[in-house]
């Protein structure tokens, strides 16, 4: 027979948190990506010497050919919304003052894509396939992904 205690005032618990936080490096390719973004406000991809595809964000190795990629190139600033979602709540489940559109954008002839907020358009007006332009923070760039946003092209 199993005991199931359904009297919640009997239940004992303890709370705690994780205690540690994290500082990540971006990697060999990621460093290149973010330094370029910070310095010249460009988005950088890497080119596989074997299959010739370009990947964004830049990666150190081709995931299919498994060879090193040492050639980098800008992928331009105009892309297409491949998918999006509209956020109404924060991570803590509190309502956002304004809904946030998160858009996954791909670039012509480039594998991969980038996820960032899409601004300057009503959520109801966002469509898969719409063209957007990258806007990279130049006032106070952090050299991280939060510097990136999209606006309708």
């Amino acid at each position: 027979m199993r005991e199931y205690n359904t009297n919640s005032s009997d239940l004992r618990s303890v709370s705690g948190d994780w205690g540690v936080w994290y500082r990540y490096t971006h990697g060999v390719a990621g460093e290149k990506f973010f330094q370029e973004m910070k310095a010249s406000r460009q988005l950088t991809g890497s080119v596989c010497p074997k299959c010739k595809r370009t990947f964004v964000p830049a990666s150190m190795y081709c995931e299919d050919c498994f060879v090193q990629m040492t050639e980098y190139r800008p992928v331009g600033d105009t892309g297409t919304v491949a998918s999006f979602t509209v956020l109404h709540e924060s991570l803590e489940e509190t309502p956002l003052a304004e809904p946030l559109v998160a858009a996954f954008v791909q670039f012509d002839g480039v594998a991969g894509g980038l996820l960032a907020p899409l601004r300057g358009v009503q959520p109801g007006q966002v469509q898969i396939g719409m063209k957007v332009k990258a806007v990279i923070d130049k006032e106070q760039p952090t050299g991280t992904i939060v510097d990136l946003a999209w606006v309708p092209a």
Partner: protein, 387 residues
């Protein structure tokens, strides 16, 4: 069941903090192992990724995160987990993937980045303690090691100076390891006078926080023979865990390492390990652990490994003993948890195939073992290889 050979190994430098992400470290190690084996990723049928707590890299679902760097895109991949024991469990898992007959080849990649954890990776370990009966006491990872070390020393009457010699030996051995960034010539005095962390553990008895990756390629007999050349074979594997109630067992002896070793020796047909094992890589995150593990591996009687150390029995250039940690181990080369165990397994492969360079042991070696340990300090994983 198919026989399984080790075709190649590779690794990155072991660094205090790498620029590379975990995935990039995986690729660097995997590429090196494939090159050593003379193969490409297309030759790999399945991948085993070993990496210890997600809490170090700070990336959830770490196996999935690392997989494309580990060559696992589109391939069967599994991430077996036994904490610090994982590094040696990787090749064990590769063994059963292949021995089952299902896969011809397997790439094992072991990775760890400890540098992202702030303020210090040690803090991530707090969660291994019970949240009710232990954490409220203000616990600290070092306590488990220092409590175990104290018990071991007390029960067998082991002097601190002898334990310090393990650090001296391994840090010196590590000077010849290409992955090592900080090999050193230390004296016993320097070790026993280094800062008290948690008595009796002193700073120079603790392996350093490290980022790194290692990789190994294994294959079935048919594939290996087709490649040609002389091979290193997996002859025995074993693994065992003890209770998580670590305060309920006597810390002076690792029973679970003995159980794992017995299983590996039985599979390898070894009845006299002290004669039949010619080189060993016991897990050495702390200086005393190497001795503790050598006894668990039954390569020395209980409490006797330190005496043998004093006699030079475990030295790299011994001719009538068993060289232990010729690589320089975790103490010397570094401790990127899962990658460290795999580095030790790779060392046995290098020693048995004569590829260990300046670290090549003096005595003739035909059989060796690597052992790792971890989880809540209660897992033993053992692999025996031979030529």
């Amino acid at each position: 069941m198919s026989k399984v050979a080790v075709l190649g190994a590779g690794m990155t430098k072991f660094m205090r903090r790498s620029l590379e992400t975990g995935r990039e470290l995986c690729w660097e190690a995997a590429d090196a192992a494939l090159q050593d084996a003379g193969l490409t990723i297309a030759d790999i049928d399945c991948v085993v990724i070993v990496t210890a707590p997600d809490a170090f890299d700070g990336v959830h679902m770490k196996g999935e995160y690392l997989l494309d760097g580990a060559g696992a895109k589109g391939k069967p991949m599994v991430r077996p987990y036994v904490g610090g024991g994982s590094g040696v469990f990787g090749p064990i898992a590769a063994w059963y993937h292949i021995a089952s007959g299902r896969y011809r080849t397997c790439l094992v990649v072991g990775e760890e980045r400890m540098s992202p954890t702030q303020p210090h990776p040690q803090g991530a370990f707090n969660a291994i303690y019970d949240q009710f009966t232990e954490r409220p006491l203000g616990v600290n990872l070092l306590w488990i090691f220092s409590l175990e070390m104290m018990r071991y020393m007390q029960v067998y009457g082991i002097p601190l100076e002898t334990i310090a010699q393990v650090a001296v030996k391994n840090k010196r051995n590590a000077k010849d390891h290409p992955a090592c960034q900080l090999g050193a010539e230390l004296t016993v005095e320097q070790v026993i006078e280094s800062e008290v962390m948690s008595y009796p553990v002193r700073r120079l008895m603790v392996s350093p926080v490290t980022d790194g990756a290692a990789a190994m390629v294994l294959a079935n007999e048919e594939f290996a023979r087709k490649k040609g050349g002389k091979h290193v074979w997996v002859e025995g594997v074993g693994w065992a865990l003890d209770t998580s109630y670590w305060t309920n067992r006597d810390l002076c002896y690792p029973e679970y390492v003995e159980k794992a070793a017995r299983a590996a020796y039985k599979m390898a047909g070894i009845t006299k390990p002290r004669e039949e094992i010619h080189v060993a890589e016991p897990y050495d995150p702390f200086a005393y652990k190497e001795l503790h593990h050598l006894e668990g591996l039954m390569l020395a009687d209980k409490g006797q490994a330190p005496k043998l150390l004093e006699q030079g029995y475990w030295d790299r250039d011994t001719t009538n003993g068993i060289p232990a940690s010729p690589s320089g181990g975790l103490l010397g080369v570094g401790n990127p948890i899962a990658a460290a165990g795999l580095m030790k397994a790779a060392e046995i492969y290098y020693q048995l195939s004569g590829k260990a360079g300046a670290r090549q042991v003096q005595r003739n070696v035909k059989r060796g073992l690597a052992q790792a340990w971890g989880d809540l300090m209660q897992v033993g994983t053992v692999i025996v290889m031979g030529v």
